[in-house]
Symmetry: none
Subunit: 413 residues, 2 copies
């Protein structure tokens, strides 16, 4: 009978690349010394993956939704709910969520600073959050969290809310906050709620003691908020509901944690995990092993350093991030080889030459000790083009991992 | 002009496998001596196939539906209609079908034996079938067939019937037959019909002479039926309706015959064809040639012995079943090479190490004497990973076969 294993899914953000002249035309993955992943490629299977679809450059949030097995075209809720979840404010089906800024406005609601000076003390954040969180607009409840600097997340909860509304942010200093309009008839109530909320937030926070102090110090007032990226949490079943599995996310960035929580994963914090090359690869390996030995069926591990290096056009650092990840994978496999089915891939390509996301397919590596080996000799873009997995869609990788790990029911009899 | 050929589709049940230590890490297909299929692979094309979808372990019935070109996610009617068709009781669109057991109940409809002792003489089966078949419940007609031992199949035909109903079988001796409840509002009529049918069948069969004799002999009475696996025959067009072709099924097992009949194939019996290694491969080859030389456009040949060997963890017998199939394919091709387009594949993987179905893709071989050859040197899982067909879905293979055989109309002008 099929034994159940833990599906381990390791994503190096922005892994895929193009030939780099300073690497003699190799990609960073091809140039990096990756003895562990090369061995796993020889014993397992590789392929290429169009994370969203052919020719489509994936955004990080939609990419992860696809990698978690969801159709990004029907399930992607917009940035709001994913950032909110990452900030610790979880949406429920029917909720509409936004990313927010504290801003400065004059008496006529003309924006004078779209970020209210950008700098906020923890006390200021707490006072502002307390003033806004828990507001009620008719039958709609407002949840609010202040996050980093001027940023925050807001959720509207109540019946009949939709995300199809126009922007309130004029995106220019010297212009008045815009009236929110419905973009579809059914979003009229939501637009009305947003307009009332904008007014009430202004009234609630403009006279807080912190603004008196800011005024005294000549700092921009935090007397309004701007909202953006509205998204509605649709009827999205969690991974637990779909597969009956318990799943964990090990990640440093709020967006990845948020997207993972949105589909029902539990965030497992790791001491020293950051979004940079200085993240503790060793601690991530140890925590991943702990999750595998524990009762998790699916463990998602996100490494951000590869993408940061790409954005900085820093080839050497991208190579280094890949090599450190290879060592991390080695520690995990050494401790758990007969207990896992493993995939290593990227959420999109980020060529160091471009410094941004691109539509190039990403290489993917699949390994389990019982798998039929293909002829891949290394884990690289060029070898993956000839691997047994051929070209996958992003949304296929989770069912494949869970299928081999024994967590997908037989279809038919 | 494209000449029309016969599409020949040979399925070795459970063909796909994983590396087997006693075969030096080869799969049974890789270890088997298959000179015919190796030659066809050199002259033709190979690839891998996800029969239902990536990571999904196929059940045999849903797998065959996909291999016959149907979307299993929208077309799979459940086991009832497919088993009924296999038993010779064909459903029509709108019918709801069940698998049935004869059972023993006491005066309060408490189940005392879920199989009524399991043993039934042909006379007993005939008497019970006659008592039940043709019953009418309002405007719903009951069709019934007794099959093997206590088993049978039942079809309800009439307007407004649905399969979304609860179980009547308590699945435990000592418990009362359950009242059938609708699981969706539109299935209320069906649940009512089932409840009346359960009562009327009990009344019709409890006093039959066979039960008086059973009582005298101390054998369990066959005084009720239990039904399970309800499935509705949707608006599924036959292969004839979709492609204007005449198609034949050559198979030993009722489920495969049933699934083939469900899509409109005609069952062509073969003397000596069974579901075991002792099936007459020679007679199957001769009958297949007869169908090709006759007026069939599509001939589906099912070999069950490979899967039985997998379920028994019997590596040597799986290798033998593959080798005998190879010889059979040789006879067919020798007699018909310029008249056919041929595919050989499996309906799912069944690794001998597991003894059950798995999600591993299956190898597929496509041959016609005019096809562009790819670089495959053998028919095997590992060669297929590099073949020109790359990774197909199960539902793609029938259009490919029929397309090359000249039975698919040009799309557009």
């Amino acid at each position: 009978m099929t034994e159940k294993r833990t599906a381990v899914f390791i994503v190096m953000d922005g892994l895929g690349d193009r030939p780099v002249p300073e690497l003699d035309g190799k990609t960073p993955l091809e140039a990096a010394k990756t003895p562990v992943m090369d061995r796993l490629a020889r014993e397992g299977q590789t392929g290429l993956m169009d994370v969203i679809g052919p020719g489509i450059t994936p955004g990080s949030d939609a990419a992860h939704l696809a990698l978690f097995g969801y159709d990004p075209f029907t399930t992607y809720p917009g940035r709001g709910p994913l950032e909110a979840a990452g900030a610790g404010l979880e949406t429920r089906p029917g909720d509409v969520a936004f990313r927010t800024n504290f801003a400065s406005v004059d008496a006529n609601m003309v924006v004078t600073d779209r970020r209210a000076g950008r700098t906020f003390s923890p006390d200021e954040q707490e006072a502002l959050q307390k003033a806004i969180d828990g507001m009620e607009i008719g039958d709609v409840k407002v949840k609010f969290i202040a996050t980093v600097e001027h940023r925050g997340a807001m959720i509207l909860s109540g019946p009949g809310l939709y995300a199809d509304i126009s922007d309130v942010d004029p995106h220019e200093v010297g212009k008045k906050v815009l009236t929110c309009e419905p973009l579809k008839p059914e979003a009229k109530k939501t637009a009305d709620v947003v307009n009332k909320m904008m007014k009430e937030v202004h009234e609630r926070i403009r006279d807080l003691p912190l603004n008196k102090e800011r005024k005294k110090a000549g700092r921009p007032l935090a007397n309004a908020i701007l909202i953006r990226g509205p998204g509605r949490h649709g009827e999205t079943p969690t991974l637990g509901e779909r597969y009956g599995i318990k799943s964990a996310v090990i990640a440093g960035g709020a967006l990845y944690i948020g997207t993972a929580k949105f589909v029902g994963m539990k965030h497992v914090p790791v001491e020293g995990q950051t979004g940079t090359i200085d993240t503790s690869f060793h601690n991530i390996a140890m925590k991943t092993i702990e999750c595998i030995k524990g009762d998790y069926d699916y463990v998602f591990v996100h490494i951000k350093a590869t993408d940061n290096a790409s954005h900085d056009h820093n080839t050497a650092q991208k190579v280094l991030a890949i090599e450190r990840t290879d060592e991390m994978v080695g520690k995990i496999i050494e401790a758990t080889s007969t207990e896992v089915v493993l995939a290593v891939t990227g959420d999109h390509s980020s060529p160091v030459s471009l410094g941004e996301h691109s539509c190039d397919p990403v290489p993917v590596l699949l390994w389990a000790d019982f798998l039929r080996a293909d002829e891949s000799k290394h884990f690289s873009e060029s070898e993956a083009a000839r691997g047994a997995l051929h070209t996958l869609r992003g949304r296929d990788i989770l069912p494949i991992l869970l299928g081999y790990a024994g967590h997908v029911e037989k279809f038919g009899a």
